[in-house]
Symmetry: C4
Subunit: 241 residues, 4 copies
């Protein structure tokens, strides 16, 4: 199988995992930078995750997603980013709506979201909109709010996450709402909340490798749960596993 073909299969897996784990519904998407041309990216084109065929986006008229602007602007602003997710996962929303409480890692698997998760409010620069990112200027503003971080919350809308690989962006997006729930409940219990320290976030990040046994295990587990374990491909003899 060619590298491109394997990547497209991974994109299919990624979208199905995000649907199965309740991160995306009709409106969330995952995209990946083209392996041969860093100025292009691939995004699942189907109308809904249920009907995914993994084909790359083609410019065929009115069926293009508005959300493509979000992905495009992040890939443009961040050469280090290889994969992007935009979704509406329910338990991330309160932190955009009540932004006085910062969403920060409290569980180890939440460390990948990084020490700071900025909140982007489209109204700050664009006033009264329908809250959707409908042009590249708005998307660039979102990307600029994201800056060097891994996740930006979008007030009243959802989030955008960016990472070095599909596996990493999926993992981050699945653990983002779980980390949000753990933090909400810890705050309800009251008393001091122990966030991950900067050193802990850095330690965990240093150990990341997309084909490490630990990372692969989750990917394989989620893909199997999502009914597409048969699509899994893994490079032989991964050097850093």
């Amino acid at each position: 199988m060619s590298g491109l073909q394997a990547l497209i299969q991974d994109l299919v897996i990624a979208n199905r995992i995000l649907a199965r784990e309740d991160v995306v519904d009709a409106y969330g998407h995952v995209s990946v930078r083209h392996p041969d041309n860093p100025h292009r990216f691939l995004i699942a084109r189907s109308l809904a995750p249920l009907d995914l065929d993994g084909a790359p986006v083609r410019e065929d008229g009115h069926k293009l997603y508005l959300e493509r602007f979000i992905h495009a602007a992040i890939f443009a602003a961040r050469p280090d980013v290889m994969a992007v997710v935009h979704a509406h996962a329910e338990d991330t929303l309160p932190f955009g709506i009540a932004p006085a409480t910062k969403l920060r890692p409290v569980i180890h698997a939440g460390s990948f979201i990084g020490g700071e998760v900025p909140v982007w409010d489209i109204a700050d620069r664009f006033g009264d909109t329908n809250l959707l990112v409908t042009n590249i200027e708005q998307a660039r503003d979102l990307a600029s709010c994201l800056g060097p971080h891994n996740v930006a919350l979008m007030r009243g809308h959802g989030f955008a996450s960016a990472a070095r690989s599909l596996i990493e962006v999926v993992r981050m997006s699945v653990y983002l709402p779980r980390n949000a729930r753990a933090l909400m409940r810890a705050k309800q219990l009251g008393g001091e909340v122990k966030y991950l320290s900067e050193g802990e976030i850095a330690a965990r990040n240093r150990g990341y490798s997309p084909y490490s046994t630990e990372t692969w295990r989750t990917w394989e587990y989620w893909a199997t749960k999502a009914g597409c374990g048969h699509l899994l491909t893994r490079p032989d003899d991964p050097p850093n596993s």
Copy 2:
């Protein structure tokens, strides 16, 4: 397929989506105004969403739903309304029971509920009842509380929602409890809660079209999830898509 037949199929889809998305159970319903006679409306007749056959209501005695009064009074009071839902979705209930906290849009998909969601308390005019709307007088009182709005909460009971199309009323009814959850959790986090502004609600509303790509995508996604994707019909060449 005739327009009436297509509408009946849409009514079946609507009821199944509402059941699949946990908006209705044994007692919730969706109705639609008759396309040829604005003085009649159609409502799913089956005893439970699981057994839906999509046939129109016939006056055949004791099996008629009490809830028909709610639908009738809203269609009568609001010539602009083409579809009505009455349901008990669990996460809308707290806002009727503890009405000091207003249910207002905090997420973009919640914008369709409108800037104000009145709470109707049957006890205000009818004293001690079983909380069901059992006659047209009570239903008219509810419709009058709804006024020009899109949704009215019914204290200790559920809600009634009204819209320009089946697709819109289903979408509003599915996002109503989600918006309610996001607001409840945002309030628990504490600090300022950022509601959608009136301008944002208006902007989103202006962009609405039942057959736009964006609206259709959710309808198709939900119908597929609910196991009735094969019943979908879409007008050819929608003018405003």
Copy 3:
């Protein structure tokens, strides 16, 4: 089909509904008074709802449930009661553990639990136990706490509910945790909580009939969801429907 046989089928349906609606797990049960001998009652004998066979309890040694004491004592103390449920439904537990907040009806379908739900704490009279009701003396104390009410919470354990029919006791037991959730969330919203008034509870109760169209609709809906719609029997020409 004989009356007894129909009742046993209803008992099977009741147990399956309670399992499907997450009211009972391995430990919850429903029982019904014998139609021909008011001094006996029938209880599902299987080890777990999944393996229900609907056979009546036989005294065959060590496999008898401890929980039989609860059912026996309530049937003995309350000649008006025809069916009993004992279960551990999770969302009822907080109200037994933090008894300063009274569990009272806030939603119309919660009205059947009645205006007052006493909390029984086994420690009050029996000191340090394993919290299970292991003899008839403890069960009689619980029945005495229940008194003329429909539901008693058991601190750290669950609840017991009693009603005039299987259909009613199932309905009450399914709506008990839903009413509990609505009340918990309404309290979290803050401000005044509007409970059902005594008059509303009485009005709803007056309208109850086990074979009314409204009551039957839920029973049929839940039985179908629980996969035993084919076991449904309904008396012909119910006099009070």
Copy 4:
């Protein structure tokens, strides 16, 4: 069937139950001490619960779980312990993150966690780590925090539980998050929270027997729900049932 073979089947059942009841995901595990050699233990080796084959751990290189250190250190420190679970169950996390609120039994089935559940914070002795237990020294520190208790929470990570049998450790691990939820909600209701007394915890513990009718009923119920009821084996004529 030999004792070892039966134990391996029980290990398979245990892992599947923990997956079905949402206690473990890709990363949780259950282990059991070897029946013939107390210095060895068996742990499910598959990459994910979905692919369990129940084979004992073999030292075959890079596929060994890091988590094996946790199990090894607890078996070494606690000769009375026959089975260990390490998992990340979501509703236990808040009590490790906001440790001012102690996780203590409030429901009878939660009594097995014991009167005190210590919280282990890896940072206390090892500073900034990735929060995983990656060597035997860290694991021994966790085991020392666990001390004579049944469960230790691991801050930002999950929990480790230890018991006298597979059945007991599974039961404890399933009820741990349920007890956590009941306590969280009881605290939200406000007022006095009634914890199980020391005497109640002791009374319940005294009555424990792995093959008692009551204990077996849950095991059988959960195994059936998890789709492996056919693997159940039960010693004939259990002496203390």
